[in-house]
Structures are given as structure tokens and as C-alpha cells.
Symmetry: C2
Subunit: 114 residues, 2 copies
DNA sequence: AATACATTTCAACAATCGCTGAAATATCCC
DNA sequence: GGGATATTTCAGCGATTGTTGAAATGTATT
């Protein structure tokens, strides 16, 4: 990943409503959720939501598919993976462990189905 | 780290010149480097650089100290650490390894989450 | 004190951002 | 087809962003 790509993804996440949308979609999992549910859940105007979804989608952070009248949006964890890799590779003095702390703050051994 | 703090840090990094400045300071290491060197290295106008340094500093991504006529700026890796932790904790479906492949698990096959 | 050096401050300005509300598009159901 | 539902498109708007260039500030040297 190049710097320019990182900037675009960082910008997509650097807005409270968009970060909320992305986090909600991460929670929703691979099946995603329809735009209407997102708008309801985050109390956003439909047109404002579309605006932000477009920007998330342009950067590859989310995907969309149609299901009847609904548009189903889903997070692309891979994109977040790429961003985190970029940050740890380029912003940690060549010592990833400086930015990639051992899982002390992270949820300990959540042991989800794998 | 709260969402609002993450947004602020993401926004600070979501600009090409600022990301370049931060990366340069990361390379420079704990001793940092004077503003003039940054401006020269990245070919930025002094006043534009000050503008961006202020924003990086406001978010805690860099520190500054005076040395004679020079202002020495240095990256705060800890702030990047916090950001990466936030992203892996909140944007990876409770499975940090999805967004942060550790060296030893990098080759492991990622199974589909369901 | 006078001068040079390093950086910041400030007032502009164009460009972009995020929001609102009305209209348009797409799909489903009768 | 007609009506209801889900979402997008679009114009307009105030607010914010990033840049420039001139002036101001702070520090070292003589």
C-alpha cells in the first residue's frame, strides 16, 4: 500500500459519522446490513448516509449489493488490515512492536468460532 | 481511547503533507528534527509546515522542544500505538488477527468468519 | 545595539466538506 | 398499472481546510 492510498483510507475514517458507520458494519459481520438499518441505528438522514457510504465505498472499506429494495452494505476487513499494516510498517521506526502492542488492551482470547 | 479521539488522530494523519511529516519524524527517531530540516526535506513553505505541525501536535502525535533558534519536533510512537490498538479493538469483529496479522500467524490460513 | 537566522502569526483566498430537503429512481405488492 | 417502500441524486448552504505571502516574534552572533 502506498502513502497516497493510506491518506485516502484515513480520510474516509476521519469523520465521526463515517467511523460509526464502519464500526457498525464491522459488528454486523460479513452479511452486512441494509442502509435503512444503518440510518435508523445511527439516526442519520438517508441522503447524508448515502454521502458517507459512497466515500467509504470509494476507498474499498465497504462493499454493497442489492437485495430487493434494500442496499446491503458490509465492511471489508481486508481494507482495515491493509491500513493497519501500512501504519505498523511505516510509522514505527522499523520496530512494529512499538505500535503493535501485545494483546493486553485487546479482548483477551475471545475464542470465537474459527 | 474513545471514538472521538480516534477521529481526531485519523484526521491529523489524513493529509498527504502531514502523513509525510509524521513518517519523516518517525524515521528521525526519538531525537526528532528541527522544523527547518522538515521543510527542506519535504519542500514545504515554512508557514504551511507550522500549520500542519500544529495539527499533529494538537492530537499528541508529535512533541516539540526548543533548541536555540530551532524548534525540534519528534514523533510520539505511543500515540500511533494507541491508534492501532483502537483500530484493531473496534474494527475487527473481536478478532484482532483479522486486521493485525502477527508475523507468526501471517502464513496461517484465514478462515471465513460466519 | 544591530544584524542575521529560525520559526510562527495573521489575513486573505479557493477548494472541499458535511448537511438539509426536495425530487428522482428502483423495487415490491396489490 | 398504481401505490408504498428503500435508497439515491441533486442543488444549495455555511463551515472547515490547506495554501500563500507579508509581517511579527524569538534567539544567536558580533
Amino acid at each position: 500500500m502506498k502513502s497516497a492510498d493510506a491518506v485516502v483510507i484515513l480520510a474516509a475514517l476521519a469523520q465521526d459519522n463515517r467511523l460509526d458507520v464502519f464500526r457498525l458494519l464491522v459488528e454486523a459481520g460479513p452479511d452486512g446490513m441494509p442502509a435503512g438499518h444503518i440510518a435508523g441505528s445511527l439516526k442519520m438522514a438517508p441522503s447524508a448516509l448515502t454521502f458517507h457510504l459512497d466515500r467509504l465505498r470509494d476507498t474499498g472499506l465497504i462493499t454493497v449489493r442489492r437485495d430487493g429494495r434494500s442496499m446491503i452494505y458490509a465492511a471489508r476487513i481486508e481494507a482495515m488490515n491493509n491500513l493497519v499494516s501500512y501504519l505498523t510498517d511505516h510509522c514505527c521506526q522499523g520496530r512494529p512492536e512499538l505500535c503493535r502492542p501485545t494483546p493486553h488492551s485487546a479482548s483477551r482470547k475471545l475464542q470465537k468460532a474459527r
